[in-house]
C-alpha cells in the first residue's frame, strides 16, 4: 500500500467521478488535475472543455492555466469565449462541471465573491468567473473543497453559484436546467445531496477518517447516511499516473 496525502485522495476521488466519454467543463487546479488523471486512466475518451474556448483538449502535460497554449494546440476546436459560454455551456451540452469555492453551505450553494459585507469586505475573493452558469447549466456539478468550519458554513456571506438554493424544488423554480451538485468531494470524505431534501449528507469517508472528524469540520450539524462507506484508497496506478502528471507542470 502506497502512502498518499489527503489531497491526493481528493484528486483521485474526483477523477473516479468522471465517466468515460463525458464532456467535462474543467477549471484549473485540482479539477484539471483530476480530469487529466481520469483521461490517463479509466476515461480515455473524456472530453475536456476549458472556458478559454478549447473543446476536446488532449494536453500531454498538466496545463498551468485555463488558457495554457497546450490546450489550443491539442484541441479539436478553439472557439471564442462568448461562443464557449453561449453555444456550449448554456444549452446544457456539458455533462459535468467542476466547482470549488471559499464557502459552501448545506445545499451546495457556493461563495467565491466576498467574505464579510459586500460593501466593506473582510476578504475580497476573485468573484464569479464562470461559476454561476457552470452551476446552472452543466448536467451535473462536482464540488471539490477541503473541509473545515471556515469553508463549510451555516450561512454564506454571498451566493455566487447556486446548488440547491434553499432545498428541493428551488432549482426548478429558478429555471436552472442542470441537476445541481451531485457530489462534494473533500479531503475527509464525500457528501451527496439527500434524495428527499437535497441537503448535503456524508456518504463516504476517506480512509482513516471518522464520522466525528468530518462532522467537526463542518459548520452545521452534518447529516450522515446510516452506513457511510470508506473510499477505496488510490491504487498504485492512480498514484503513479498522478505523480507523473504533477511532474509535467
Amino acid at each position: 500500500m502506497s502512502e498518499f496525502t489527503a489531497d491526493e485522495m481528493m484528486t483521485v476521488a474526483a477523477a473516479r467521478s468522471l465517466r468515460d466519454g463525458a464532456a467535462c467543463f474543467v477549471g484549473i487546479g485540482l479539477p484539471s488535475t483530476a480530469a487529466n488523471l481520469a483521461r490517463r486512466t479509466h476515461a480515455p475518451n473524456l472530453v475536456l472543455i476549458y472556458e478559454s474556448g478549447t473543446l476536446g483538449a488532449k494536453p500531454d502535460r498538466l496545463p498551468l492555466s485555463i488558457g495554457d497554449g497546450v490546450l489550443a494546440d491539442t484541441a479539436d476546436s478553439v472557439v471564442s469565449v462568448p461562443e464557449i459560454f453561449n453555444y456550449w455551456l448554456q444549452p446544457g451540452r456539458i455533462d459535468i462541471g467542476f466547482l470549488g469555492g471559499a464557502q459552501v453551505d448545506r445545499f451546495g450553494n457556493i461563495n467565491t465573491t466576498v467574505i464579510g459585507d459586500y460593501a466593506n469586505p473582510e476578504v475580497r475573493l476573485p468573484g464569479a468567473g464562470g461559476a454561476p452558469e457552470i452551476a446552472a447549466s452543466c448536467r451535473e456539478v462536482l464540488i471539490v473543497m477541503r473541509m473545515s468550519t471556515r469553508n463549510f458554513v451555516d450561512r454564506l456571506d454571498f451566493v455566487t453559484s447556486v446548488g440547491y438554493g434553499g432545498g428541493r424544488g428551488d432549482r426548478e423554480r429558478l429555471g436552472l436546467r442542470g441537476r445541481g451538485p451531485v457530489k462534494v468531494i473533500t479531503d475527509l470524505g464525500v457528501l451527496e445531496p439527500d434524495p428527499q431534501s437535497c441537503e448535503l449528507t456524508l456518504t463516504q469517508l476517506s480512509p482513516g477518517v471518522t464520522v466525528e472528524q468530518a462532522q467537526e469540520a463542518v459548520g452545521w450539524p452534518l447529516k450522515v447516511v446510516p452506513e457511510p462507506t470508506v473510499q477505496p484508497e488510490p491504487t498504485e496506478t492512480e498514484l503513479t499516473v498522478l505523480h507523473e502528471l504533477m511532474e509535467t507542470r
Binding site: I28, D73, S80, N86, V123, G127, A128, G129, E133
Partner: protein, 276 residues
C-alpha cells in the same frame, strides 16, 4: 468608417487614444494579454479610468495600484494559480491609493456584454445569475421576459469601451491583424470599442491564414503598434511561453505598498522599455 489602422509607436498610440476618464478594456484570456500597453498607460499617468476586463490579473493590479482607475468592471479578479490581487484588494478594502468602485458580473455575462457591444445592440440576453446574489449588488443585471414563451431570462447592457486594447501575434503593413491560439473575447473587444489599439509581436509583409485564427481587417482597428514581447509575462503562441515564475514573483511585490511603489518607479516610470 473608423478609417484605416495607422501604425504608431506604443507611446504615441496611448497618448492619442487613451484619455483620463475613459472606459478602457485591455482584454486577453490568459494568452496575449496587452501588458506593455497597460504599463504605458501607467507611465503616462492616465487617471479616472473605468477599466473593463473579464479576468483582471497582474497588469490590472498594477494599473489599480498606480491609481489609474476609479472603477473596475470584471468577472474574475485574481493572480491565476497564485492567489489574490493585493493592489486590487487594497483598493477595495482600504481605498488605497484611490477608492475603486466595482461592477461585477459572471464570465457569461461579461462575454455577452462585449458581444452585444460588438453587435450594436443595447443589451444581451442569457441564462444566468438566477438565484445568485449578484443582481442585488450589480445594477447592470436585470430580468427580461421572452415575448414568445414568457420565460424569465437575464439581461445585461452592452459594453462599448471608449478604447479597446488587445495584443496579437501579427499585423501586416496595411494594419490588418491576425491572432491565433486562444483568442478569448478580443475580437468582440475591438468591434465593441469606439477606438482600438492592437499591439503585435511583429509586423509582417503578408498574413498567412492559419487554423483557429482571428483576423481583424484594418478598417475596424484604429492603431497598430509593434511591441515584441508586449504580452509578457503572459504568452504569445508561436513566439514565447508564459513566464509562470513571474506570476509567483508578483505576489510579494503586490502584497506590500512600499515594494509595489519601488517596482512602479523602477519597472515602469524608470524605463521606457515597453514604449518601443
Amino acid at each position: 468608417m473608423v478609417g484605416v489602422a495607422r501604425i504608431l509607436q506604443l507611446d504615441e498610440a496611448i497618448a492619442e487614444l487613451v484619455h483620463d476618464g475613459d472606459v478602457v478594456a485591455l482584454e486577453g484570456f490568459t494568452h496575449l494579454i496587452p501588458v506593455a500597453a497597460g504599463h504605458e498607460i501607467i507611465r503616462q499617468r492616465k487617471k479616472d479610468l473605468t477599466l473593463v476586463r473579464m479576468t483582471p490579473d497582474i497588469v490590472y493590479d498594477q494599473l489599480i495600484g498606480a491609481g489609474c482607475a476609479r472603477k473596475l468592471i470584471f468577472s474574475w479578479g485574481g493572480n491565476p494559480g497564485v492567489g489574490s490581487l493585493h493592489r486590487f484588494r487594497d483598493a477595495i478594502e482600504n481605498s488605497w491609493p484611490v477608492p475603486l468602485e466595482i461592477e461585477e458580473h459572471s464570465h457569461a455575462g461579461m462575454a455577452n456584454r462585449y458581444a452585444a457591444g460588438a453587435a450594436g445592440l443595447p443589451f444581451a440576453v442569457l441564462r444566468g445569475y438566477a438565484g445568485t446574489d449578484l443582481p442585488q449588488h450589480t445594477s447592470t443585471i436585470r430580468m427580461i421576459e421572452c415575448p414568445f414563451t414568457g420565460e424569465e431570462l437575464a439581461a445585461v447592457p452592452a459594453i462599448n469601451p471608449d478604447v479597446g486594447i488587445i495584443h496579437a501575434q501579427q499585423a501586416d503593413r496595411a494594419g490588418n491583424v491576425q491572432m491565433w491560439g486562444i483568442t478569448g473575447v478580443q475580437k468582440e473587444t475591438v468591434l465593441a470599442s469606439t477606438r482600438s489599439l492592437v499591439t503585435v509581436e511583429e509586423i509582417v509583409d503578408e498574413l498567412t491564414p492559419r487554423p483557429h485564427s482571428v483576423v481583424l481587417p484594418n478598417w475596424v482597428v484604429t492603431a497598430v503598434a509593434e511591441v515584441p514581447g508586449g504580452a509578457r509575462p503572459s504568452y504569445a503562441q508561436g513566439y514565447y511561453e508564459r513566464d509562470n515564475a513571474y506570476y509567483q514573483q508578483w505576489d510579494p511585490i503586490g502584497r506590500d505598498r512600499e515594494q509595489f511603489e519601488k517596482w512602479l518607479e523602477a519597472e515602469v516610470h524608470g524605463t521606457a522599455r515597453s514604449a518601443r
